[in-house]
Symmetry: D2
Subunit: 304 residues, 4 copies
């Protein structure tokens, strides 16, 4: 039975809508870049919603953010400098700073208001990460600020909104941008980007194109996916490496590295979880094998 | 934007509803056992819905049914006789019969009308499996008919509705039933059961209890899960083995066995997919480790 | 509590949606002119839906059709010839033919397929009216066929779809069309048109404009409204008369005329009901008094 | 097209749901008596919602409250003392106090928290009425406080929640309560009660029973109805009079009395509107004529 009352509706596609019982509207507003909602919905807890799309939810943001950050950080032997594109909630920053080796994490978000709103309304997301002396927040276009950054980075983490036509993020998913990013990496450097939905019904919307575009710039890519309950979908990520032989460590080695390199226990990610995420089901392998598209500035990829 | 028009709403939980654009209502009716709908919904194609829960959809039933049937059938060295509990759509039967070694597949469904409706309205599901001379359909309570069956089986496959309070299926998820099933297996025999939702938010509703209950009867269990788009959730399965050392073959060995044992190409399942399904993320391992409940006739497990 | 299941959603406005439990989809299709649905929805019974808007429902079509037809027919001393524009369901025709004095009723609908679908699927609406020897169905544009009709009429009844941008009907709500209609009326002739929603929130969308446009062509208009449950809104109608002194008879006189002129009992309309419909609440009187717009071919009126 | 986003859903019946675009959740909470929501919904403005039912909305509360208060107040030759049962928003009090003759208005609401929330969040509803020196607020059960009131009243106005099983209000719709109320009226006294939905589909849920119950206690009743947009339904009211010959004044006389007796212009009610409201359509007359039920404490009336 469905309760009458207040509900939050989100369109997965024009033919598929999810409705969550709304417990509280924390904030609704419009910034120069996007519509922002901070909502508390019954099954998922406090959520950041940008332009009608849930970005992360209290109940499972650790699944998304640990899966985004730790594989790439643990694949690197000793990541000191990290560039984060997007990630207004501060949770990506939080996870990156949990790595003992990190001396500086530069986060660039285009939307100062979103960052301020997250600082205020999503304390369980950032957990004070913005106040870490190693963190540096820069407001502006991640592409431009990365290109102009005075420093090089060991790891680049792209925690961006989906590439939506007319949205602020699509130029951060193109071949040209990945070339810029590659040039800003130190030797042995790595990049990871969120890569959109990854179910059998929608993995070719963005995931396979992003992987294929990265593979046109980097000698090695490692795509993987994880189910995120508040997205009601598996979600894709792609690591790109300067080193053609890069390979996720074994589960045992990963567990050892987690214990050594990370200053606190993780809630989701561990060695076997890494293996579950990076072992690709048949439809993903087929999707990557058959993908021909490369996203460029002139011909970008969009999700619906 | 959401189209006004006709929609199909399903409750994942009282706080989470999914809505699919309805293209056609093929059939709606009530049998002595359950409410039956055959619907054609825009994103998923033709679906069987029992008591308001989608059982399988044309777009991805191969993911569900191949994941249910082939792991257990390929784990067995040479399955000849198969017992199928439930599976009214005929797709489980279809996949079982694709194994060259099978000489007889006995399928028991409680609801003759559902089977007839599936025969008529879901031809892409059964693909004529009911007409295979090795197939034998028996109508009745799977628990009783399994107990009274004159024969023993190599493999038992339980493709049942979720255990719902007041529903027809919950007595097929109890320790007592698993003891009956165990007694009907040939030496080296295996059982697999669908085991309910398997996301971080709902894996302890049924999946961990079913695994723990099976582990109280069988010396060896192998739980695994797969994301099924039309369920908008990962789904759990549990293999139970008489042989304490049973172990899924390596990806390479599985691919070899698929080529040898199955009469036609599979659409989803293969060696690496098997590894993806059976490699358990941390929350599942924790869930199984911490589970204490055992479902019994007196104290069964129910999903909401 | 809301039942999951199949629902029919209709937009009253972009900010207000009604959802009815869907019992059966009788027909869905596209004609050259419009999208057609015949639905059976739980609270209202069998409905005709054109372009996503409920035209009439079994449970209350008698309220709509009696309110459309009988005031104008009873205001006329002896209506013999009737022109009906639209009215594909056949219910307007049915009510017109119930008047003993009628010798000919010419009905023009633009969409032959809608008429055929109504004949087949809405038998309780037309009740065989199309077979009455006094009825003549012409397929085509009501404006053109009225202009070219060889005969004159005593009463013109316009049972049209709402004037929607891009829809087939908006040219039947303009000053130019009303001038055509006026020229086709016999002396003492009367016209009535459905006039859109009539609540305090939406009576100025079309109702007041239609009345004001008619008043620019005819010396006398009589607007009135009735609540139609399946529209969840009061609905407006406007009578226009060649005779400047036309006035609805008293309730007692109306009841006498109903008994004399109509061949069977009415279900909704009677003398006091007529008084209830034609006594205008303050917001309607204000709306008519303040309306300045006149709908013309060059500047028509549209509802959202 | 429907916007994804936040929506407010209300059940008109289990088969009919309305959804309004939610602009702001002003307040949500639970008192000892009921669930309270103050919502701002796009089409209707700020609303008070009790136990999931909209009580009144900013856009049309003047229609509801003027229709409740002024007919009975203008029917009385000179109402000095008024008892108001319910009416937590303060708008009924506001309208009663607009009558020049009123020297005292006693308002009894069971739920102090609702009154305080309305004072705070619905300033456009009460417009300061609670601060009028003639107003006296008493918190408690209206039935008990009316029975125990030291004074008699000229007019009793019952602005109550619908009679819902288990709700706080159903004992204020019974024959026993109406006998209590009758005994507290001065000679020539009048009572009015909101009487539930009044459409052809639902007028027999409560309206006809309430009228019939009042008619079993008072020598004269005057039922009437008005369409309230935010209820998406016509709404019923019933006046009961000690004087068997009580009759609504003519439209002209009413307009004269409004100008004399009320201290400020009305927004909705006037003489012709009164005639529109009190002229009953056929289904209402039939409903009242056929009603046999009388609501008693032992056998009350409930709406769904």
């Amino acid at each position: 039975m469905i309760r009458p009352g207040t509900w939050y509706l989100e369109a997965i596609s024009p033919e598929l809508i999810t409705s969550c019982l709304l417990k509280e509207v924390i904030y609704v507003g419009q910034t120069p870049y996007q519509e922002v909602q901070v909502l508390d919905v019954a099954p998922f807890g406090r959520c950041l919603v940008l332009d009608g799309k849930t970005q992360s939810a209290e109940c499972d943001e650790h699944i998304y953010h640990e899966s985004l950050v730790h594989p790439v950080m643990l694949l690197h032997p000793q990541p000191r400098t990290v560039f984060i594109g997007g990630g207004g909630e501060g949770a990506t920053l939080r996870e990156a700073l949990a790595h003992r080796s990190v001396t500086r994490a530069v986060m660039v978000d285009i939307d100062q208001q979103v960052v301020e709103l997250c600082k205020q309304h999503l304390p369980k997301h950032h957990q004070g990460a913005f106040d870490d002396p190693r963190a540096q927040l820069r407001i502006g276009d991640a592409r431009q600020l990365l290109a102009e950054a005075p420093e090089q980075f060991d790891v680049i983490i792209l925690d961006l909104a989906d590439p939506i036509e007319g949205g602020p993020a699509y130029r951060l998913y193109t071949q040209e941008f990945y070339q810029i990013a590659k040039a800003k990496l130190n030797p042995g450097g790595l990049l990871v980007t969120q890569s959109g939905p990854a179910s059998p019904l929608n993995h070719t919307e963005a995931f396979t194109v992003i992987q294929h575009t990265l593979a046109s710039v980097f000698p090695r890519t490692i795509p993987y996916s994880v189910y995120v309950p508040s997205f009601m979908n598996p979600w894709g990520f792609t690591i790109a490496a300067l080193d053609a032989g890069a390979q996720m460590p074994s589960p045992e080695e990963l567990d050892r590295r987690i214990a050594q390199c990370i200053t606190r226990p993780l809630r989701f990610f561990d060695g076997l979880t890494s293996q579950a995420l990076t072992t690709l089901s048949s439809f993903l392998r087929r999707g990557f094998a058959e993908e021909k598209r490369i996203a460029t500035d002139a011909s970008p990829v969009f999700v619906v």
